[in-house]
């Protein structure tokens, strides 16, 4: 009914309650209803009309600020909005926060306009409004495009270019960018039970241990979006472990150590399957050299390593024991004595691989 109804302050004051609602992609009316149900009006004696007016005001403001939020560094060089640093930080951080379920769906998709237009199904599946899905998609895409080619630490780049203060959020984005960069296949049916958190955990460890920023890597100048090429080349040397001689040796060591801690049935199972299993683990390792194989890392891990154990009803504890001993007994192989630098490679690979496996080892 009102024709002009605006409220402007010298300081930008954000109603974060409403901001969250806005970020969830709800429409103006939905927001108003939600706020009303939370009893905003009771405390002030205002009417619904005022709530709508306030909400409209805020929505306009958010829409204006959104341009800045997309490139948060611009906050520093604009006069239009006088926002104090704390509010600004909250604004940005909340804008870049995302729903794990949505990101889980977006992961593995190409960040293309075509895919953006097809977010309806994501929205349907996750029950998160389309607008919010689009925002999250756009954020991921923007962050990815910005830092993709940048040298230096992924996390630090994200922090500086998007003014994200929280380590946690920056790490998450780093992981997403890493995954997007390697186009990890996550959409397969086989992986559908895995959550974003699983991938996040694995990727973080991959970044920390396998990328250029890893402690073992000498060449820190390069981007940590990529895996350490040197390491990948060294992984090829592990192929030697798939030779029968070493496989048997490895199996013997392992079975000896496991003898006491596993049931008979599991031991025989393991004994029968060890060859395939070990081959699979090592082929994943040297497969990391080929970007196509890298893409399928998660699929391979689940398909070749986790699923057999799952079928055999191994518990997580059993898994822990197995993986640790698998790694340790490997070190006792004669091969490592002849090639000492393979020890580091083996450990660098197995540590992270074990963590990934354990994280992904669930239904």
């Amino acid at each position: 009914m009102s024709f002009v109804d605006v409220f402007v302050g010298n300081y930008i004051v954000i109603d974060f309650e409403l901001y969250h609602l806005w970020l969830t992609g709800r429409s103006l009316n939905e927001c108003c209803v939600a706020l009303q149900q939370r009893g905003v009006l009771q405390s002030t004696g205002a009417r619904y009309e005022e709530l709508v007016s306030d909400t409209k005001d805020s929505f306009r403001l958010f829409a204006n600020i959104e341009q800045l939020l997309k490139w948060p560094t611009k906050f520093g060089e604009q006069h239009l909005y006088q926002i104090d640093p704390v509010t600004q930080r909250n604004l940005i951080e909340n804008y870049y926060k995302f729903d794990d379920v949505v990101i889980r769906e977006i992961l593995g998709r190409k960040l293309s306009t075509k895919n953006r237009n097809n977010l309806d199904d994501v929205s349907d599946k996750t029950r998160i409004p389309l607008r919010s899905c689009c925002r999250q998609f756009d954020n991921v895409k923007r962050v990815f495009k910005t830092v993709e080619e940048m040298p230096g630490s992924l996390e630090r780049n994200i922090k500086t270019h998007f003014c994200i203060m929280s380590d946690e959020l920056a790490k998450k984005y780093a992981a997403i960018v890493f995954m997007a960069n390697h186009r990890f296949e996550t959409g397969k049916k086989r992986l559908s039970h895995l959550t974003f958190d699983d991938f996040l955990f694995c990727t973080e460890h991959m970044i920390v241990n396998w990328s250029y920023s890893a402690a073992e890597c000498d060449n820190h100048e390069d981007m940590d979006v990529d895996l350490d090429r040197m390491f990948l080349q060294e992984l090829r040397d592990l192929k030697i472990l798939t030779e029968k001689e070493f496989l048997d040796e490895h199996r013997n060591y392992l079975m000896n150590s496991l003898k006491t801690s596993l049931t008979k049935k599991k031991l025989t199972d393991l004994d029968d399957n060890f060859k395939n299993l070990s081959k699979a683990i090592i082929s994943i390792a040297y497969g990391l050299n080929h970007s196509k194989e890298v893409k399928n890392y998660f699929v391979d891990v689940v398909e070749k390593v986790i699923e057999p154990f799952m079928m055999a009803m191994w518990s997580e504890d059993d898994m822990v024991k197995f993986l640790n001993l698998y790694k340790d007994s490997g070190l006792r192989l004669s091969v490592f004595r002849t090639l000492p630098n393979m020890v580091t490679v083996w450990e660098r690979y197995m540590n992270t691989f074990n963590k990934c496996c354990l994280k992904l080892y669930h239904n």
């Binding site: 009914m1 009102s2 024709f3 002009v4 109804d5 605006v6 409220f7 402007v8 302050g9 010298n10 300081y11 004051v13 109603d15 974060f16 405390s43 002030t44 004696g45 205002a46 009417r47 009309e49 005022e50 709530l51 007016s53 306030d54 409209k56 005001d57 306009r60 403001l61 829409a63 204006n64 948060p72 560094t73 611009k74 906050f75 520093g76 060089e77 604009q78 006069h79 239009l80 909005y81 006088q82 926002i83 104090d84 640093p85 704390v86 600004q88 003014c163």
Partner: protein, 1160 residues
């Protein structure tokens, strides 16, 4: 002084993409000053060009310096076609012309385009080299400072008040010139902006010349108004008060400087439109006092004090009045109190005392230092120490001298033509009251030739809204003059005679009204217009008062000695008397009584109580109109306070005056509550409005119609205001602002004011309903209504915690008796009238008004409202920081048919509720300086622009904690003090001992507990509850506030005033989010530009911010919208309390520093 302007264009950032093919811009800057244009090089292909240009130099005359803004135009270079405009930056160079001002303007200025808004920023450096004038015969007003602040700027001392200055400049509106038909909207808007800017520069220059002529050095309370008269042109009017200001010595140097001076040290007596600092003063004082009880050892008993007080020198007129204030507050004349006061009175002579007093005392009191830094360097001669009782006794004898009639020479003030025009009754009375005022002024010695005689002023109008203590002697009431005119083409813009004549008419009118009220000056004067087609409504309002222009303390001792010599002079004797009276109020009351009995002029002998401000300035018997008088509830014996809101008065007033102009008297008694902070409990905001449909007819008939309706509208407004006031059980209004708007089909009047309970005035009577009862049913309804009314009143009383004091206002039978006898003597039978009955007429449409009264928009707990600068009843110390300055624009269609009144009420209720809702998270807070500006842009549309500021109330500070923690002890101490005070009263006056004492004690107890303790307690609770809110922290950045001070900070330096007229237009309303989106963006842009200018001058806040004009034109069919906004204010550098005052030297300031937070 001609000068050389040097400009350096450093860089730009965030430019828009002007070349679609490259997504880049080839920018260059055109620098225009006066008629000269220079250019930078083209910086190719960049959105962040770095020119780092040479210095561009412009040698110009000072007139150009003052009139023209520096214009920087950013363009996109185009080889083949015309260059595309990106936007402009206008820089007003006036701040550089004042000495002790910044020597350089530098910073990032938003590049503003009238069609696209802000498009990037430009980094510029501007310097001026002034040549000293070689032609000494030509006067230049360079260096005259203009303050929008309507009070003495902090850090300055008022030396002289020279009086009213006004000027108006007229020009054709470019929007209405033929050329506008062929040029683009952009160039039309820019032409307008440039013209407005130039005109306001001219206006200021002309006013500056006038000020120079008067011998002043600055203009305070400078107001500039734009009348967009449409076809007939634009008129820019400027009014202000010419004054001579002296910079205060560095506070650090003064002995008081040990403690940081705070903002509430501003020594101001609030006048009508103000409520401010005194409230503060009062509170702090009572507070200090209480504390002093806890720390008795900290007050050295010095012999000096009482002497100074008793000294009959008036060298420290103000100081004594202040001292008196203290006394009254804590009635016992305890040496402690005095010593404190005195230490401030003579900071030079008694530094050790002030030092020895606890630091918080000195800081709380230090506001007095302001006045007294220059006070008599020589201690008074009469230093014989005497104990307070003795001095009382001594002065008891003196009052007799007062009894003589005021011996002012026969009133020979120029009788203006307007006096003739006032009705016979008024003019006849004016004579007698005039004589009173005449003598009042004559009383003051003329120590130097610079003395200004208010009687000689053509227009004794003061645009200031608050004054240093001692400036106001009496307050008469509200005066207003309105006039409806038909706009005509201004033929000769150089000599805008018609407009001048109109305003002169109005001013003369208001002057004559003032005289009719027995006053000789108008304070808080302001002028307003409303234009609708060819009709223009001019209105001027202010508060009639008697003032003392000769404030300069420095001059007083000299005068004193003179006076002593000519002791035989009766005037001087009176003067002396009065001074004593100030200290020893009881005796003076007696004296006063006598004066009254003997039929002498009432005001001359009246003590300079703080409450005397609300005593009527004229003889009761010769009141200009029948009014109800009653005794002043504080001094009790003096019966010069009149019941302010009297209905009869209105009835009588309105027919008397010519219909075009209405004068009315309402007593605003703003000042004295600083003595009685206890009683001043709460305040609230009224907003009352009446719409009357206006019949469309021809212009002339229309004008007549309006001038016929106007008085009734005004009456109605006042009536409603008073009803409202009584509903709230309050008896005083502050900051009354009235606005009348002529719309196409309606005439809107709105009034807003902050209510307060003032102790000296009688409590408001309980409304009684009266109606024509024709049936039992109606009777029942009426009774029901009456019941509701009573309930509502009780609720309000509870809300404002007035219950404790209510009965106290009623004199006890005994004292009534004595008073009555007095009354008979001084023919005050009028007071016997319907003092206690307040009748509400209820007719068949009863529901409308009464119901409206009953259903008032409640404001949320913890949020206080006032339209004054500080909130009465809240110590401004608690105003910890500025939370938000806001502008709300609300426009909607209104139902003109049946439910007009209710719809109009609903309109404003909606505005309120929006405000409350918006600011709900800021609680506990106080919305200060709420200004409503109404307009009727379309036939059935109303627009209101609300501006104000939200100030956080923080009573978690240690001092107030003390209050809340120890309510019992402090109230007890209060009581004790009052008791002793009463004793001394008794001793001196020797009559009505027991009754008085009993009475007063009760008063204090009730009020003390209710006011001082309940309020903070409640506040504290609120605070505790809400502490988790986000807004606990202090905001940084550039503050903008409509207040004259920065809450929680001290203004260190005034850098210059800012005034600009923004025009914004869009041809894509829908795309920018509708009209709302357009407005929101535009207001934000305006604020952003203002902030950038403040920071470029090295300031960090803009005070006295005022959005003087906001015109929104829109055509939804064409998808077009245009908006004009005029803003003004004073850029200052403020330092937070407790912060180290380190002024960054100019050259250190980074050229590129951005005022906004840099994200890290």
């Amino acid at each position: 002084m001609p000068g050389k302007v040097k400009v350096k264009v450093v860089a730009a950032r965030g430019l828009p993409v002007m070349d679609r093919s490259t997504d880049l811009t080839d920018a260059f800057v055109e620098i225009k000053f006066g008629s000269e244009v220079q250019k930078t090089e083209v910086y190719k292909r960049s959105l962040n060009p770095q020119w780092n240009s040479e210095w561009f130099k412009f040698e110009v005359e000072d007139e150009v310096l003052q009139d023209e803004p520096l214009e920087l135009r950013v363009l996109d270079h185009d080889t083949y076609s015309a260059h595309d405009a990106i936007g402009k930056v206008y820089i007003d160079l006036n701040p550089l012309l004042v000495k002790e001002s910044p020597s350089v303007i530098t910073g990032w200025f938003p590049i503003y385009d009238t069609m696209h808004g802000i498009r990037g920023d430009l980094n510029v450096l501007v310097k001026i080299d002034l040549f000293s004038d070689f032609n000494k015969f030509r006067q230049s007003s360079c260096g005259i400072q203009f303050f929008c602040t309507a009070e003495v700027p902090s850090g300055y001392r008022l030396q002289y008040v020279h009086g009213f200055v006004e000027e108006l400049v007229v020009n054709d509106d470019p929007e209405y010139q033929w050329i506008d038909k062929i040029r683009t909207p952009r160039s039309s808007n820019e032409a307008r902006q440039r013209l407005f800017s130039k005109m306001s520069g001219q206006l200021a220059r002309k006013i500056g010349l006038k000020v120079l002529e008067m011998g002043g050095s600055a203009v305070i309370g400078y107001k500039q108004c734009f009348d967009l008269e449409g076809e007939s042109g634009i008129v820019i009017r400027g009014i202000g008060t010419a004054v001579t200001l002296a910079k205060l010595r560095d506070p650090q140097v003064s002995p008081l400087g040990a403690s940081p001076l705070k903002d509430y040290q501003r020594p101001i007596v609030p006048a009508l439109y103000i409520s401010m600092p005194l409230v503060i003063t009062s509170n702090t004082q009572s507070h200090a006092h209480r504390r002093s009880l806890h720390l008795p050892h900290s007050h050295p008993l010095t012999p000096v004090p009482s002497n100074t007080l008793t000294s009959n020198s008036h060298s420290t007129k103000m100081s004594t009045s202040v001292a008196h204030t203290v006394e009254n507050n804590s009635t016992p004349s305890s040496p402690r109190q005095r010593s404190l006061t005195i230490s401030h009175t003579h900071p030079l002579t008694a530094p050790p005392m002030s030092k020895s007093s606890p630091s918080d005392h000195s800081s709380e009191r230090s506001h007095f230092a302001f006045d007294f830094t220059y006070s008599s360097p020589v201690p008074e001669e009469n230093l014989a120490p005497s104990s307070p009782p003795v001095s009382h006794a001594r002065s008891t004898t003196s009052p007799m001298k007062v009894t003589g009639p005021p011996s002012g020479p026969p009133n020979n003030r120029r009788s203006s033509d307007s006096d003739m025009s006032t009705p016979p009754k008024g003019s006849s009375l004016a004579g007698s009251s005039g004589s009173g005022s005449g003598s009042g002024t004559k009383n003051f010695p003329k120590p130097c030739s610079q003395q200004i005689n208010i009687e000689l002023m053509e227009y004794p109008l003061f645009t200031m809204t608050s004054f240093p203590p001692g400036f106001i002697i009496h307050i008469g009431g509200v005066v207003a003059a309105r006039s409806i005119k038909l706009l005509d083409k201004i033929h000769n813009p150089e000599e805008p005679e018609t407009r001048d004549a109109w305003w002169n008419e109005v001013r003369t009118e208001i002057r004559s009204h003032t005289r009719a009220m027995g006053c000789h000056a108008v304070i808080g004067y302001c002028e307003l217009t409303s234009i609708c087609d060819e009709l223009i409504l001019l209105s001027a309002t202010g508060t009639a008062a008697k003032v003392n222009l000769n404030l300069d303390q420095y001059l007083q001792p000299k005068a004193n000695s003179q006076q002593l010599v000519s002791a035989g002079d009766r005037n001087l004797a009176t003067e002396k008397e009065r001074d004593q009276g100030k200290k020893l109020f009881v005796d003076v009351n007696l004296a006063n009584q006598m004066t009254l009995r003997s039929g002498g002029s009432s005001e001359d002998g009246s003590p300079r109580f703080a409450c005397s401000l609300c005593h009527i300035p004229y003889k009761p018997s010769s009141a200009p109109f029948p009014i109800n008088l009653s005794q002043c509830a504080c001094c009790r014996y003096v019966h010069v306070v009149y019941l302010k809101f009297n209905k009869d008065f209105w009835f009588l007033m309105i027919p008397i005056f010519p219909l075009e102009h209405v004068v009315f008297g309402m007593c605003f008694s703003p000042c004295f509550y600083y003595i009685f902070p206890l009683f001043l409990l709460h305040f609230f905001l009224f907003l009352y409005r009446v719409i009357r449909p206006k019949i469309n007819s021809k212009a002339e008939a229309n004008a007549k119609e309006i001038s016929d309706i106007l008085p009734f509208l005004e009456y109605d407004l006042h009536n409603q205001l008073m009803n409202k006031l009584k509903m709230r059980s309050m008896n005083g209004l502050f900051g009354l602002k009235m606005q009348f708007v002529v719309g196409e089909s309606m005439l809107i009047g709105i009034a807003s004011a902050t209510g307060a309970y003032l102790v000296p005035l009688p409590p408001p009577p309980v409304p009684r309903l009266l109606g024509q009862i024709t049936s039992e049913e109606e009777n029942v309804a009426l009774l029901d209504l009456q019941k509701k009314l009573a309930e509502q009143i009780q609720r309000n009383k509870d809300l404002y915690q007035l219950t404790g004091i209510d009965f106290s206002g009623q004199p006890s039978p005994h004292s009534v008796y004595t008073d009555d006898s007095d009354d008979e003597g001084s023919d005050l039978e009028l007071s016997a009238g319907n003092k206690d009955t307040f009748v509400l007429e209820v007719d068949d449409t009863k529901d409308d008004n009464i119901q409206a009264m009953l259903h008032d928009t409640p404001h949320p707990a913890g949020m206080d409202l006032c339209n004054t600068e500080t909130c009465p009843g809240i110590q401004s110390r608690l105003f910890s920081h500025n939370l938000q300055m806001f502008t709300q624009v609300y426009r909607r269609k209104i139902d003109l048919e049946q439910h007009m009144k209710t719809d109009f009420k609903e309109f404003f209720d909606g505005v309120y509720r929006r405000l409350f809702f918006k600011l709900r998270r800021m609680i506990p807070c106080c919305l200060c300086n709420l200004v409503f500006s109404v307009d009727a842009p379309e036939e059935d549309e109303i627009e209101v622009v609300v501006t104000g500021t939200c100030v956080a109330i923080d009573d978690s500070q240690p001092q107030s904690k003390a209050v809340t923690d120890t309510p019992v002890s402090s109230s007890a101490s209060n009581k004790q003090l009052l008791k002793s005070a009463n004793v001394s009263v008794v001793g001196a006056s020797g009559e009505n001992v027991d009754d008085m004492m009993f009475q007063m004690e009760e008063v204090t107890e009730g009020s003390a507990s209710s006011a001082l303790h309940k309020v903070p307690k409640i506040k504290a609770e609120v605070l505790k509850k809400k502490q988790s809110q986000v807004f606990g922290r202090t905001l940084q950045g550039i503050q903008i506030t409509p207040l004259a001070y920065v809450p929680g900070a001290k203004i260190e330096k005034y850098i210059g005033s800012y005034n600009f007229f923004f025009i914004r237009e869009t041809t894509s309303v829908r795309e920018v989010g509708g009209v709302c989106g357009f407005m929101q963006k535009f207001i934000m842009e305006v604020l952003a530009i203002v902030r950038a200018h403040v920071s470029s001058l090295g300031g960090n806040a803009l005070v006295a911010y005022n959005l003087t004009q906001c015109v929104l034109l829109t055509n939804e069919h064409k998808n077009q919208s245009q908006c004009l906004i005029n803003v003004c204010g004073d850029a200052v550098h403020a330092v937070k309390e407790g912060e180290i005052t380190a002024v960054i030297p100019e050259h250190v300031r980074k050229h590129s520093d951005s005022p906004i937070y840099v994200t890290t």
